[in-house]
Amino acid sequence: MKKSKNDFLLALSFIILGVLLLVIFNVTKQKGKFVEVSIDGKVKDTYNISEYLTKEIINGEFSNTLIIKNGKVDISTANCRDKICVNHRKIENVGETIVCLPHKLVITVTDGDNANEKP
């Protein structure tokens, strides 16, 4: 039936869109240079990704522990409820982020050039 075929095409086009985005994101990725820590949308700190540091980010009652090691960025502990940020894998490419939504914390890897930040 025509409608079933249209349904299938619709679903297929969404999947193709997803795959397309995936390919685009993976092909255009580049190793990062800096690590930006933003709270509530404002950049609070910027570090070099080649640094070695362990820092506890405290924002009132919110706490997340940031670790920069071997050119990779990770959050090792946090006192949020879902711990999504803690379970996240280490990030290292430009545009990659670790987000702690309840703490409004965003850790971003950048190449230092704000105009070129990958969407």
């Binding site: 025509k2 409608k3 079933s4 249209n6 349904d7 619709l10 679903a11 969404f14 999947i15 869109l17 997803g18 985005l21 995936l22 994101f25 933003s38 509530d40 949308g41 404002k42 879902d82 711990k83 999504i84 379970n87 996240h88 894998r89 545009g95 990659e96 982020t97 987000v99 939504l101 409004k104 965003v106 971003t108 930040e117 990958k118 969407p119």
Partner: protein, 166 residues
């Protein structure tokens, strides 16, 4: 349908939608690394409303559902995400339905995807970054799958609801 009967029926559907949202929360997270992966079970009610009632009725029930769920189980954040997802997906589903090119399954798939995309848009606004948009990739795929699942259930509901005098 008499006005009173309709109001009562819509109220019952609203209650069911609220319970479905709650049940959804009880299911253990499939992918903890990505927040917001939800089956969207309440969309079954939304689809039923779109096909058996009107767009306006669907909006009213959905808004009531979002407000109630946010007040009962969630936070302001939950409210913002749910409302955007619900309104966006309802509007898209209504428009697709009007074209008459798709069955309720296709409409529901589109609904699932736009629901998730709506939520990602809110997340982008709240975290003030574009990078979180990377999650959109997975959310499109899960939106398609959950939309399909909801669509199958929804179409069954629509089919069997014909037996009831609404």
């Amino acid at each position: 349908m008499k006005n009173l009967k309709k109001i009562t029926f819509l109220s019952i559907l609203t209650a069911v939608a609220i319970v479905l949202s709650y049940v959804e929360m009880l299911i253990p997270p499939i992918m903890p690394s990505i927040p917001g992966i939800k089956l969207g079970l309440s969309n079954i009610i939304a689809i039923l409303l779109l096909y058996k009632f009107s767009y306006k009725d669907a909006i009213i029930v959905s808004v009531l559902r979002v407000c109630s769920v946010a007040l009962l189980f969630g936070s302001v954040l939950t409210f913002a995400y749910s409302l955007t997802g619900a309104l966006l997906s309802l509007t898209v589903m209504f428009m697709l339905r009007k074209t008459n090119l798709f069955s309720s399954l296709g409409v529901s798939i589109a609904g699932g995807v736009t629901h998730n995309l709506g939520q990602i848009m809110v997340a982008i606004l709240i975290t003030n970054t574009l990078q979180i948009g990377y999650y959109a990739i997975v959310l499109i795929i899960t939106g398609t799958l959950s939309g399909a699942f909801i669509g199958i259930l929804g179409s069954l509901l629509i089919k069997y609801s014909a037996k009831f005098k609404i």
